[in-house]
């Protein structure tokens, strides 16, 4: 029973987790992209379109690639032209939402879904579980990972040392786009049975951004945080059963805000800083 609940929560939490991993890497390089939700929507929409002419696998890949391309709208101005990252991220969110709806309006609205329990789905879940370990090892045990963290911690000092600030941030931002696109594709192809509709992400991209902070920028922490957020989301039907009605839909967001406030207080009290690994 407990395993079942945990697993079903994982199915629901996977898109938040995937998107959060991408954002995590970018934030460790010292930049934040607020366009995650938009890139997810675009990924969802493009995945449906691609899956309808090919296979679910093609849909996933196309969605991820669409997210990567969308991330360029953020990364090029921010990394190379030093544009404001907040404005660039928010603009990207709105732009990508628009593009997602546009793509959907041009194509067939329904495509083959990825069935929970299918081999492809299992691979996706495995990826969701293993990626934080890979990221952790990358940041902790490779010099490239150390270089990326150095850029995030002290850009000027790292640059003086010869670190490739722009290349690393570009890479991290594109990886973030890739993961957000994949997360969106997962939403439309797995959670909504191959359907796309406007507002499909229902703000989960923002939950991913929040999870990065909540997980204290540690890959395993972010995995735990985003999974927990997903778990709260999966409890929604039960909350509704309790008669909380509309409030149940806002519960995850309230939980995130409360958890953020709590973690801010705790980290200040314990003098915690973003972890070293």
């Amino acid at each position: 029973m407990a395993v079942e609940v945990a697993l079903s929560a994982l199915v629901g939490a996977a898109p938040i987790m995937l998107a959060a991993y991408g954002e995590l890497l970018l934030e460790r390089s010292g930049r934040v992209n607020l366009g995650v939700d938009g890139m997810m929507a675009l990924g969802a929409s493009v995945a449906v379109a691609a899956a309808s002419i090919g296979s679910p696998l093609l849909g996933l890949l196309a969605g991820a690639f669409a997210g990567l391309l969308a991330a360029l709208f953020y990364a090029l101005p921010v990394v190379y032209l030093r544009a404001d990252q907040i404005v660039a991220g928010l603009s990207l969110a709105f732009l990508a939402w628009g593009l997602a709806d546009l793509t959907a309006s041009l194509t067939v609205p329904l495509s083959p879904a990825i069935i929970v329990g299918s081999a492809l789905h299992d691979v996706l879940l495995l990826l969701t579980l293993l990626l934080p370990l890979v990221l952790w090892a990358f940041l902790r045990f490779t010099w490239l990972g150390v270089e990326l963290r150095a850029v995030g911690h002290d850009e000027a000092a790292a640059r003086e040392r010869g670190a490739r600030v722009e290349a690393l941030r570009m890479g991290a931002a594109l990886f973030g786009g890739l993961m957000a696109g994949l997360a969106g594709a997962y939403m439309s192809l797995v959670l909504y049975n191959g359907k796309y509709f406007a507002g499909i992400t229902s703000g989960w991209g923002w939950l991913a951004v929040g999870s990065v902070i909540l997980g204290y920028w540690h890959p395993l922490g972010v995995a735990a945080a985003s999974y927990s957020v997903g778990l709260v989301l999966s409890l929604r039907p039960y909350l509704e059963a309790f008669g909380l009605g509309p409030l149940s839909a806002t519960a995850p967001y309230l939980v995130v805000i409360a958890a953020l406030a709590l973690s801010a207080v705790l980290s200040a009290r314990l003098r915690l800083r973003p972890p070293i690994t």
Partner: protein, 482 residues
Amino acid sequence: MFFADRITVVYPTGTRANEEVSLELRGGEILALLGENGAGKTTLAKVMAGLLRPTSGRLLIDGEEVSFRSYREALARGIYYVSQHPQLIEGLTVLEDVGLTLSLAGKRAARGELREAIRRLSSKLGLKVEPESLCEELSAGERQRVEAIKPLLLGSRFVIFDEPTTHMSPLEARALGEIMKEMKREGRGVLFISHKLKEVMELADRVVVMRRGKVVGGLRREEADPRKILELMFGEVQAPTGERREGARGEVLLELRDVKSFRVRSVSLKVRMGEVVGVAGVAGNGQRELFEVITGIRAAEGGRIFLAGRDITRLSPGERIKLGLSLVPEDRLGWALVPGLDVATNVYFALDSKRFIIDWGEVKEVAQRALSIVPIAGSPDSRVESLSGGNMQRLILARELYRDPKVIVAMNPTAGLDYATTRAVREMIVRLSEKGGALLISEDLDELLELADRIYVMSRGAIVGEHSRPFDVERIARDMVS
């Protein structure tokens, strides 16, 4: 052999930081580069380390011309630069920080091996730092020594230390000296930048002295004695004029009684009406901290400060200014002037007769009046950061003159200024002192000899001597290095 050939560096502000400077660093020697603040030592070091491109001149390694587009290229050619504020990257461990430098220089090392190498080297060098400890937990001296390990691991041939001992305890400084000697024994060339005479005399094989962007002399250790070096550092000290200016014996306007603070051990001094009082000393002996205590930015931990008889020890900087204290800090932009605002606003902003709603007409008028005292090249509408350093200083002094203060306290007011502006600024300080008093904290001894009626000498945070006109330069210099 690493040779810097006729390096000239002109900064965008027009400051000529290096003028035809040539320097030869050989393997197996410690070469000290001495000079006051602003003499151009760091500029030269940065050029040699590939951090700064010279306006003209070239670098040669073993007779072959090299040109560095980045620090990374200099690293690859066997040059290592340890900056004044060693930038270990906070958030990384010592092991990661060292490993990052190696990996960026193209030397990959396995974590385990590197950990052993760091342990071995640090125990050899008397550095008690665990490879797994976080960089941010290290003291300044420890950071500097971690930096010193890197060139050993990289196999750098030339190591440049930029004023490494500034933030070190004497014990740490001695440990670093041992590291330098070790490097020398291994055949590396060490360039050691400093303005501390004593450590230079202990370590260096040769001493090169810079002054106002030029090399003014080179001495072998055998022929270097402190007086000779001081003469080079501070210039041919002209025989000071003996006359005392009139009116320098009025009431006491500023008095410090046994003031103590960080790096200030005990300072007592008096500034009287109509008097320019100098505080001399080799840079880094507590002068900056003394200035901050007088301004009120830094709290006095002991002693009392009086302004025209009133105890201001506990007052805020703003209250002190209202009572007639006038400040000319060393950092013009950001401290004396607000960047991003125009000239007129910067003048008006410092006055205390402000109302809630701004009368822009009045602001302009006040600025015009202040600038009529001291003209600057720039209109009241120009942004302050577009002014040259000299015009900024003129503007600051114009404002202070307009405010008609009781006491002006200035810190290195002519640092980095050209000859003409220096003359003008000194003249203004004398003018300011005519209606009040002036305390001039300066690392430029010539300036003090010219302007001051009395000179206090500060060394290691305490006043070690007081001198009156006619000045005995030798005695002052002796006090400075005491």
